[in-house]
């Protein structure tokens, strides 16, 4: 075999080998994410007094069906939070009629129960609460309305605010 044939054979083998090794190509990208804990406060249900009669006080306790309910979720087991409430002294009705509301009661627990947890009096002061092992807290509130004997008919409304402070 002459020299030209030898060289071309080597080159041919090299070319084929190069082509053969280029069978698979790959390229990477990354998948990235940054996880942040969230704090969720939800007002689940109204404090609902239903029908009220003039001159007849009506109380809704935390264990009653009409109790107001909040839930708090923080993604940290055992986290401490502060609860505070801005509560009305009166409900406002037709013609600016006032219907007194008071005797607030509260209950919080790490599970969705209305007894067996911690009872407290909702108000502007801080109520220290601890979330469950899954970062949950359930708060129920109740109150009493005291309609006068001549309380005007109509609908009465108010706003109550729960503030949750995370440390």
């Amino acid at each position: 075999m002459n020299r030209f044939m030898k060289v071309s054979s080597v080159l041919a083998l090299a070319l084929v080998a190069t082509a053969a090794t280029a069978q698979a190509q790959s390229a990477n990208i990354n998948v990235t994410a940054n996880v942040f804990q969230a704090l969720t406060v939800v007002g689940n249900s109204n404090l609902d007094f239903g029908n009220v009669f003039p001159g007849v006080n009506k109380t809704i306790g935390v264990t009653d069906a009409g109790a107001g309910k909040y839930s708090v979720t923080v993604g940290q087991a055992g986290a401490n939070v502060n609860l505070s409430f801005t509560l009305p002294a009166d409900l406002v009705g037709p013609g600016a009629a006032l219907l007194p509301v008071g005797s607030w009661t509260g209950h919080w627990a790490a599970t969705d129960v209305t007894s067996g947890g911690t009872t407290f009096v909702p108000g502007p002061g801080n109520e220290a609460a601890t979330l469950s092992g899954t970062g949950l807290l359930f708060v129920y509130i109740g109150a009493q309305v005291t309609p006068a004997a001549a309380q005007a008919a109509g609908a009465y409304t108010a706003v109550a605010t729960m503030t949750v402070a995370y440390f």
């Binding site: 071309s8 940054n34 942040f36």
Partner: protein, 153 residues
């Protein structure tokens, strides 16, 4: 009878089979979920111009490229924490860089093949979804997606 030199034969063979070295792929952008609040499912569409993952592929016109994606099932985070990540049918597409080209959506978990018709360049985009579970540890999570060209014809 003279025999064709081996070099000539090799060159002929390579001209019949498209030169695989002319097909290339490179990763150009990560699939970046960004900030994920715990408990919220975040979906990145493959059409997202910023967050979707992207590769650029070059291959001769009329070539058919077979490729697959090796997808992670989870992202790895601080202290050994992991977070599931989900890829579904339609979370990826290939789009040739040519006027009038339409994206071809595919299942990123399967084998894919594409014939280059209007251009020798294409982009491949990947989206996905992630849901940090309650109690998911905070911090940065990551993993890798590999695009492998398995055969070229």
């Amino acid at each position: 009878m003279n025999r064709a030199p081996p070099l000539v034969l090799a060159l002929l063979a390579l001209s019949v089979v498209p030169v695989q070295g002319q097909t290339s792929v490179s990763g150009v952008r990560d699939l970046a979920f960004g900030a994920l609040p715990v408990g919220i499912t975040t979906i990145i569409l493959p059409t997202d111009p910023i967050k979707s993952g992207q590769w650029n592929m070059t291959s001769p016109v009329r070539s058919r490229v077979f490729f697959r994606l090796t997808l992670p099932s989870q992202l790895n985070g601080p202290g050994g924490a992991t977070m599931p990540v989900d890829f579904r049918n339609g979370d990826a597409f290939i789009l040739e860089v040519a006027a009038g080209a339409q994206p071809e959506y595919f299942n990123p978990g399967g084998n894919v093949n594409h014939r280059f018709t209007g251009s020798n360049q294409a982009i491949i985009r990947l989206g996905g979804r992630a849901t940090p579970a309650p109690g998911q540890r905070s911090g940065a999570y990551s993993n890798t997606v590999v695009l492998t060209i398995s055969n070229i014809q």
